[in-house]
């Protein structure tokens, strides 16, 4: 014991002497310096929802806001519903990829007036039923919903009894699947996977092990660039065909993914708001960044930098009106 204390003391002494030419903490610089000519930005509170596509949006916005606009970006990793709540309490300035959520829009935009849309991200969200690619090779006609009953037996699992299994996923999204199964007369049972993690694991494993799986899924999603899932053709969506939830017998509509900001943030004149408002890209753009993060193992910052360096024209458009045009 005495030895230990002695050794510790000795180590401390060594460091003390070595410390004379070591870097001091006071020499370190703090992050986020202001670019010349730009408006002051201050703190920018950004909600981060847990899927990788969102993370890709957030990565480029954060990179630009911090390195070009000189904002202090506070990323808040929270669930969608809590992010909306944050708009009303002033703790969240912006949500970058919103999937529909009419009920939340009504509460926070129409009723309370604390939030507003900042336009489309340019991404099209598509929900549907998917099968792993090996199944399409083996059963080419499976992608037509009319043939689903023919294959119901293939999709049987311990959870679906004597019916085929339709695996549903993320509980944060309202699905019409139960109504669809019933109204299309399908011999399937909807099984609640309970999380996006459950969906992705199941789909990956289904392709690797060549096991049958029919699952609710969506694009843009990074998994699609690893496993090219194939969408089942359901009866075409026509405006109004989903008016009565109990009688739905058509595919999901395309979602125009949009950005939601708090009213306070929109009126603050912050350059970060201008950046969020200008921000628009394609599904391919988002997928390329998402792939860098999810499959190539780049950090958010590295992935964002890679994209920004490769697309200067697009980025310049986003920066218009922020006072920092042409900076990166």
């Amino acid at each position: 014991m005495r030895c230990r204390a002695f050794a510790a003391g000795l180590a401390a002494l060594v460091m003390l002497t070595a410390g004379c030419n070591a870097t001091k903490v006071s020499d370190l610089q703090s992050r986020g310096s202001l670019a010349p000519g730009s408006k002051p930005c201050g703190t920018f509170n950004l909600a981060i929802n847990s899927w990788v596509g969102y993370e890709a949006d957030a990565a480029v916005i954060t990179y630009l806001a911090e390195n070009v606009l000189g904002c202090t970006v506070k990323e808040k990793h929270i669930d969608e519903q809590i992010a909306w709540q944050g708009l009303s309490t002033g703790q969240v300035d912006a949500i970058l990829e919103n999937w529909g959520h009419d009920q939340l829009k009504q509460q926070y935009i129409d009723n309370m007036g604390v939030a507003q849309s900042a336009g489309s991200t340019g991404n099209k969200g598509q929900i549907g039923w998917y099968v792993p690619p090996w199944m399409v090779q083996k059963y080419p006609d499976i992608t037509d919903w009319h043939n689903l009953n023919k294959y119901a037996e293939v999709f049987r699992t311990s959870e679906s009894g004597d019916k085929g299994q339709l695996l549903d996923g993320s509980p944060s999204y309202v699905t019409n699947d139960a109504a669809l199964v019933e109204n299309l007369g399908l011999d399937y049972k909807v099984v609640q996977g309970g999380s996006e993690t459950a969906l992705i694991s199941s789909l990956r494993q289904a392709e690797q092990q060549k096991t049958p799986l029919l699952a609710y899924f969506y694009s843009p999603q990074w998994l699609l660039s690893e496993v090219p899932l194939v969408k089942i053709d359901l009866p075409k969506y026509t405006p109004g065909c989903d008016a009565d939830p109990a009688k739905i017998a058509c595919d999901y509509p395309d979602y125009d993914l949009d950005k939601i900001v708090s009213t306070k943030f929109a009126e603050s004149g912050s350059p970060a708001y201008t950046l969020v408002k200008n921000f628009q890209w394609t599904n391919d753009d988002q997928n390329s960044v998402a792939r860098s993060i999810a499959l190539d193992g780049l950090s958010d910052d590295e992935a964002a930098k890679k994209f920004i360096d490769a697309n200067p024209a697009l980025v310049a458009k986003w920066l218009q009106g922020t006072g920092a045009e042409g900076q990166p």
């Binding site: 709540q85 609640q192 494993q205």
Partner: protein, 682 residues
């Protein structure tokens, strides 16, 4: 979870239970099994006649008036938030105080403060300080463990995240003790308060956290306050319970002696009761710390920084290795804090009993340590090298990489991939077998019988197992479950919970007997049990999903991993508690090993078996929500959906209440059975 409800002997058993010794005491196990069998036989006969009628089913997306009312209530509270006086004058000040406190600790060890780009105390200062504290509170062995453990977290590349988690844990535990110890003392001194607070504590421990996360962020905003309070709700009950238990356990003679000396209540408490209860109170602190650490990943869902954040973010890209690396840091932190507080409670006990002073080297070492600690803190405040954990070391011309984390991540990923690729056919076969032969039949019996039949059957079984009071509690709770409109989902959850508990008890008996009879086995297995208990379940959900698909069985396996260690530990203690003379006597009359286990050791640890069952059930129940995330459906899924969708908030809350009611039935019934067996054993 309610680890301690069962540890604490019943303070004042109701007269009814004392009279109702019935089945076990008077008639023995054979009669008991016959009675249960008879109830089941009648149930099955009636089931075949009435199957599928009056099952009170409700589809996952459907809601009833109560659920809608609860959802509307949340919406209205949210809309009125900024003008509501309750928020302005009550919640906001509470939030401000807790935020300031938690941010203060974060700034001390984890976060940059103001213009300073690093926290006040860097890694060297924290490591030396914690090692010193472990030495003062426990002993040099624990100090060494602390030193290595925290350095390892740095080498994992998780220094800042670990400190964020530690800071949040310290904040939550400090507030928990501030509230919990006084309440515990009150509950220890006052019978009516004890009776009042016990069900409240049960409720706080069993109600799934997911249910109150969204309301908490509404009340206390996204930030440290909400995270600390969410942790607090789950972590404060143990210290209250154990403080009360410690005071109540002081022998009656001692109390009377103190009173006869004319001591006031305060003097009695300060001079006799608290010192004698000190060891139990420290154990309560230990349990509170463990519960706080168990909340790390859940708190990350409302933006709490730290290791939980790493786990959650790794999940979105299915990066099991990174999640495992962070989970490992949580396990190490939990083991260090557990060993330190356990050793501290032993030290307290030893020092109280032997009046001899401490070891003669101790005092000077404590003084030297204090000086070294102060120097280390100063160094880490001043110099970058000791402030920011280095990712590599330059000694002379040699360059040593310190990134152990990358290796851990790679190995964990390769192991997982290999397992998923090669074991999946086998594990899926196991899943199909158990589902078809155990889960499905049980679930069908429970959820496809008419509600009145299941109601009567469950109440009858509760009467046989636990006695009249248990039957009454069961009937009331079942009626409430019907009232909140989630009968069939509750029955589905019950089926999965029962199957998981059977597996937990079997594992508890088999491994517990092995460990109880063999010291070496105990030493080897115990660290794995600790790891299984403290590793966040989110870490192993991805491989489990690959091995067992999204299914009810996956949830059951996750529950077994979490709950079996408790049952195993209790059984091992029980077996070891059988006196050696009895075992030797059996050996001397020529009994073989199997006979000794089955005729002597197991029957004599029947109370441990009942306790293991009780605790196993409660732990399994706490995994219902996790099961909902991997295809378990039923109540767990409803809670998760309620957290994610505003329109289902009310239904999620109702599902949380149903879990509490189910927990009450299972806990009270098995605890009553444990008490009866305990009395019969005496």
């Amino acid at each position: 979870m309610a680890t301690l409800t069962a540890d604490a002997p019943p303070s004042a058993p109701a007269p009814e239970t004392r009279r109702g010794l019935s089945w076990f005491a008077e008639r023995g196990p054979a009669q008991f099994i016959a009675a249960i069998g008879a109830v089941l036989a009648v149930w099955i006969v009636l089931f075949t006649m009435f199957r599928g009628r009056n099952t009170l089913a409700l589809a996952p997306a459907d809601t009833n008036a109560l659920h809608n009312w609860l959802s509307d209530l949340q919406t209205r509270v949210g809309e009125g938030r900024n003008t509501n006086p309750l928020f302005i004058y009550v919640f906001n000040p509470i939030r401000a105080v807790i935020d300031a406190f938690a941010n203060g600790i974060q700034g001390l060890i984890a976060h940059p403060v103001g213009d300073r780009p690093v926290p006040y105390i860097g890694w060297l200062g924290v490591v030396v300080l914690l090692t010193y504290l472990a030495f003062v509170l426990a002993n040099w062995r624990i100090a060494l463990l602390t030193l290595c453990g925290f350095l390892f977290m740095g080498l994992q590349g998780l220094w800042q995240e670990s400190m964020e988690t530690l800071a949040l844990t310290i904040a939550a535990v400090a507030i928990a003790l501030l509230i919990g110890i006084p309440l515990g003392i009150w509950a220890g001194m006052s019978n009516w308060f004890n009776r009042l607070i016990t069900p409240v504590l049960d409720f706080m421990q069993i109600l799934p956290t997911f249910v109150y996360l969204a309301p908490l962020t509404l009340m206390f905003l996204i930030g440290p306050a909400a995270a600390v309070i969410a942790t607090l709700i789950y972590a404060v009950p143990p210290v209250i319970r154990l403080t009360a238990h410690g005071i109540r356990a002081v022998p009656e003679e001692t109390r009377e002696a103190v009173e006869s000396l004319g001591a006031t209540r305060f003097q009695a408490l300060h001079g006799a009761l608290l010192p004698m209860a000190k060891r139990t109170i420290v154990l309560g602190i230990n349990q509170t710390i463990m519960c706080a650490l168990a909340m790390v990943t859940i708190a990350a869902l409302i933006a709490a920084p730290g290791l939980g954040q790493v786990v959650i973010q790794a999940l979105s890209t299915q990066d099991v290795g990174t999640a495992f690396n962070a989970g490992l840091a949580i396990v190490i932190m939990a083991i260090i804090l557990d060993r330190t507080t356990t050793a501290a409670s032993e030290r307290v006990e030893v020092e109280r009993r032997s009046f001899s002073g401490p070891n003669r080297f101790r005092r000077p070492l404590i003084a030297i340590g204090a000086v070294v600690t102060v120097i280390a803190i100063w160094l880490s405040y001043t110099y970058q090298l000791t402030a920011i954990f280095p990712s590599s070391l330059q000694i002379g011309s040699a360059h040593i990489g310190l990134d152990v984390g990358a290796h851990i991540i790679n190995v964990a990923n390769s192991v997982t991939e290999w397992l998923q690729a090669h074991l999946a056919p086998l594990t899926n076969a196991i899943k199909n077998f158990v589902t078809a032969w155990a889960l499905d039949p049980l679930q069908t019996l429970l959820d496809s019988s008419p509600w009145w039949l299941t109601f009567a059957g469950l109440t009858g079984i509760a009467a046989i197992v636990g006695g009249r009071i248990s039957a009454l509690i069961t009937a009331i709770c079942l009626a409430l479950i019907i009232a909140i409109g989630l009968w069939q989902d509750t029955m589905d959850t019950l089926a999965a919970v029962l199957v998981a508990t059977v597996a937990v008890v079997v594992l508890g008996v088999v491994i517990g007997v092995w460990m109880g009879r063999n010291r070496r086995a105990d030493q080897i297995v115990r660290p794995f049990l600790d790891a299984a208990q403290t590793m966040p379940s989110f870490v192993y959900l991805v491989p489990f999903l690959a091995l067992f698909s999204a299914s009810r069985f996956t949830g059951i396996v996750a529950a077994i991993v979490y709950a079996a260690p408790v049952a195993i530990k209790i059984m091992a203690d029980g077996i070891r508690g059988v006196s050696t003379e009895t075992v030797e006597a059996a050996q001397s009359v020529g009994s073989n090993t199997w006979q000794i286990i089955s005729k002597v050791q197991l029957p004599m640890s029947a109370r441990s078996l009942a306790l293991a069952t009780n605790q196993g059930l409660i732990y399994v129940l706490s995994m219902v929500v996790v099961a909902g995330l991997v295809g378990g459906g039923a109540l767990g899924y409803l809670v998760v959906a309620g957290f994610s969708q505003t329109s289902l908030f009310g239904k999620g809350l109702a599902a949380g209440l149903a879990i509490v009611l189910l927990g009450t039935i299972l806990d009270r019934t098995t605890a009553a059975a444990a008490r009866r067996i305990g009395r019969t054993g005496q």
